[in-house]
Subunit: 550 residues, 2 copies
């Protein structure tokens, strides 16, 4: 028998609306129209203007045929158009596909085709890569060029224009009163972000409005980000939509400080000039900040919150960051969970422990965000939780509203990832008695270099194609600056006379620069009796090489 | 044609979970088990213990037959069991029905019957009212007595026990490892709160898990409530589930400081002893704080955030509160929108304006919470927005995820309230050019006294039953302490010799004390030519009487 609470109490327009982060911007523009939403170079954009420009852009995109379920790609640095794209593209019902600007033309071409891109907003600074990519694509997206005025102001060279329309002209031709579209359903896609994954082809991770809304708010609650926070963009927005911070900032009516490049002088100037309160980035950003020339460093007028992910912050860096005035919080996530969904939620009692112990506590990945309903380390076969002993290895798994919709046009990979009703991260870890998790190894063979994922398999495939290589295995080598770099183990054909320089040149030709191995070990590769490469032995060897090189 | 984003990207257990505030507590207990969740009298309850007790209570309730869709009522003051009920009752799938402890037995009996209450947790301090109510109910809920140890410690009298089970025994008999129930659907009811409404019978406003989760987070974001905030309970939890703060505090792993009664000495002691950071209450709570004897006041060691609703805070009170160290934020809402859904979001630029102007800006009800998708003032006939001129009157309407499911077992009232896809508040207001709304009048004839709603119609009905009264109209009279009190205009039968004392006695017999008119005006009541009472004239007259009395 149905309960009395299930009778005559249906959803209707008055009591049910799709969750979306788009309404955050409308609210911020209404309530704080004159407040600065975006700072970039000498430019200051108020919330009223930001919202107006987004509506104009959405209207212009709509006029060019972009509608519900279409893909709009963006090859943009951390500049205002990237923030505008995060609102304007979904405002016409379309899906934002932010391209990693460091990728090579081949991967970009693959993504544009796979996502069936209809329109591409591209910064002229990346024209050469895009031009090369478009030579091979099946799709022919409408091209909109963004000529960054900051580059011009600094008299720096930019690439040629590829399209027929200029971004600023496109925006200014749009309707500032455009009646933008709410999603039909909160499950509608808002963006697609490609991951390098384990196998050759990148996978398109699809986010929905519901998850973006919840993680955007989750950032604010988890990190206690108050009204009018000032956020510095050192994390690329093409990474998991900047961990949803483009939307979080509107929720708190805060200010985005954009930086085209992560340079020490620009970071320190921005921290000082704009009274930055929060920033995010890979550990390499912390090194950049700390290793800045003394003359560019400035005393901070308040504590700045720094959120880092990709690798645990080392003790030395933590101490130096604290001394420089930063409070570092360690986050963890994957593209499949909208960026960070796990936080090393700091316990104030730990403050009294010795620095080394604090660092090992901070090295743990931590506990779930609110917006992630379940986080656990499970036996990948039985899906039983591992004992909370800090020792038993299992696979880190996620369940909740900030887990992706799935992989675009890839039923098999989606089903595999969601097997048994959990998202399988592929990361191996342990759970401590206090419930905090720590990663111990990666089953996915991903190398994280400067916050960028590198698929070891992709690099191996390039090496395998070299005519004189008979076997290759690539693993992560610890690196003081980048966290990790690829280290290649290769077996050469008998009588081969190929040099390290030759191998480097070969890789550079076929891979984006950051994926090129920094070290080669030539000789027999350690394998099991059944011929399986023993990657853990190679990792140990790479670690020894790294230490020896120090 | 379906978009590529709608193919093979379905919801499953891994990527979709019902929104609920219950998971907040599980997380707080895991991450901060030793942190103090609740302070009451000499009692301190950690998060681990709070969660354990909630699971025990949920298990005990389940063992007594409480399950999905059942109603569990609570007649409790702001004591730990009331917080526990906010988690434990929905943890067994049931619906929490918190009774306003100030109501009379008749109204309580009506609510217990209407909600089909299966179990009632009742503080022995309210036994006489409950005993009287149960004499007339159709339902026979299982009774659980809570004997407040603070009353005993203070050697204060409590009423007799009505049931066969003691609350603490019930809890301690429960299973601390109980596998509590997530809602089947986020649309499932979590609580029912009765409003006095305009017509005779109270209406049962049904809240769902989705809305409770979103408003609980909305409080934290809207008010920038940080991790580990300390919240003082001066707002009754039976009001709209304490504006969802019982759930907000778990989201930020904060501390609840419970107070049985809103007394100046207890408030000041708690503010000081527990380093309170936030509290909520009707304007009468501010008066209580400010008018405290000098010897109980203490200097605040930090700014305390005070959230007030029900009536705009007067200029004098704002100035005094600021001087005493409080930052006052004005909220607005109704039972139907989970308590506050509108905030006078303060613009820092206004700080430089003269005090009087600041007070008039602060008197405005404001703008929507994020969790409320739309707020507007519409023509109630056409549903067209009124001009943003600060003058044109319309009806305040709401649309969004923190609007109730509807009225329990009252299809007609629900349909009426949601006419045209908006929730019709019944409040009349204007919109200023900056988008902030301000209430100007109430179409619902509600009097708000000390934060409690009084239906003028209910009081009129009582008066009409008096044998010597031929006509009666009740309106709000401004009151320095209570905000408003009921003022009755009555026409007596010819030759009647009834006195004001007789009328007061009559009302006291039939109404809860706070609903009894504080003032009577005997004589002809102003009516229109068609015989309709001209309430606005009566309100003006009552206002004059109030001023004259000052």
């Amino acid at each position: 028998m149905a309960s009395i609470y299930d009778q005559d109490l249906e959803q209707n327009q008055a009591n049910y609306q799709p969750l979306t982060p788009l309404t955050f911007l409308e609210r911020a523009a209404t309530v704080f129209p004159e407040r600065i939403a975006i700072v970039y170079g000498g430019l200051e954009i108020t919330y009223a203007e930001f919202y107006r420009r987004c509506r104009q852009l959405a209207s212009a995109l709509t006029a060019r045929g972009i509608g519900r379920g279409d893909t709009v790609s963006a090859m943009l640095a951390n500049t205002p158009p990237m923030l505008e794209a995060h609102y304007a593209v979904p405002m016409c019902g379309a899906v934002l596909h932010a391209l990693n600007t460091r990728l090579d033309a081949g991967v970009i071409a693959f993504q544009l085709d796979h996502a069936e891109s209809k329109l591409l907003i591209t910064d002229t600074g990346f024209s050469s890569t895009i031009a090369a990519a478009l030579e091979t694509t099946q799709v022919t997206p409408l091209l909109i060029d963004y000529a960054d005025p900051v580059l011009a102001a600094e008299n720096r060279q930019t690439g040629e224009r590829l399209g027929t329309e200029d971004y600023e002209e496109l925006v200014s031709g749009g309707d500032a009163e455009f009646a933008w579209l709410m999603p039909n359903n909160e499950w509608d896609a808002i963006s697609v972000n490609y991951t390098s994954g384990t196998t050759g082809d990148p996978k398109g991770v699809v986010y929905h409005h519901r998850g973006a809304c919840l993680l955007a708010q989750g950032n604010a609650i988890t990190a206690s980000i108050p009204k009018h926070a000032v956020y510095l963009w050192t994390l690329p927005m093409f990474h998991c939509n900047g961990w949803c911070f483009p939307w979080t900032l509107s929720a708190v009516s805060g200010t985005h400080v954009c930086l085209r490049e992560v340079r020490a002088d620009a970071i320190w100037r921005a921290l000082d000039q704009h009274q930055v309160t929060h920033l995010c980035g890979a550990p390499v950003v912390m090194s950049t900040i700390l290793n800045a020339e003394p003359e560019v460093k400035r005393p901070l007028q308040r504590q700045v919150d720094f959120f880092t992910a990709a690798a645990p912050p080392p003790e030395r860096v933590l101490a130096d960051m604290r001394e420089a005035g930063f409070n570092v919080t360690h986050l963890y996530g994957l593209t499949e969970v909208y960026g960070p969904a796990v936080v090393n939620d700091w316990n104030s009692e730990w403050e009294t422990l010795p620095a080394q112990q604090q660092a090992s506590l901070k090295a743990r990945q931590g506990v779930r965000y609110h917006a992630l309903e379940e986080l656990d380390v499970l036996d990948p076969e039985t899906l039983e939780p591992v004992p909370r002993d800090g020792e038993t290895l299992g696979e880190v798994m996620f369940r909740g509203n900030v887990v992706m919709k799935g992989y675009l046009k890839n039923r098999a990979a989606t089903d595999e990832a969601f097997k048994g009703g959990w998202f399988h991260s592929g990361d191996l870890g342990v759970v401590y008695p206090d419930g905090y998790i720590q990663l111990k190894d990666r089953s996915k063979d991903i190398i994280i270099s400067g916050g960028e994922n590198i698929s070891s398999i992709e690099v191996e495939e390039v090496l395998h194609k070299h005519p004189q290589i008979v076997a290759a295995a690539v693993v992560a080598m610890p690196d003081n600056k980048w966290g990790e770099t690829p280290c290649a183990f290769v077996e050469l054909a008998q009588g081969s006379d190929v040099s390290i320089e030759d191998l480097t040149a070969w890789c550079k030709e076929h891979l984006a620069g950051f994926k090129v191995p920094r070290r080669y070990v030539i000789g027999a590769i350690a394998k099991t009796s059944t011929g399986k490469v023993q990657k853990f032995l190679l990792r140990q060897q790479a670690a020894r090489l790294a230490t020896a090189a120090d």
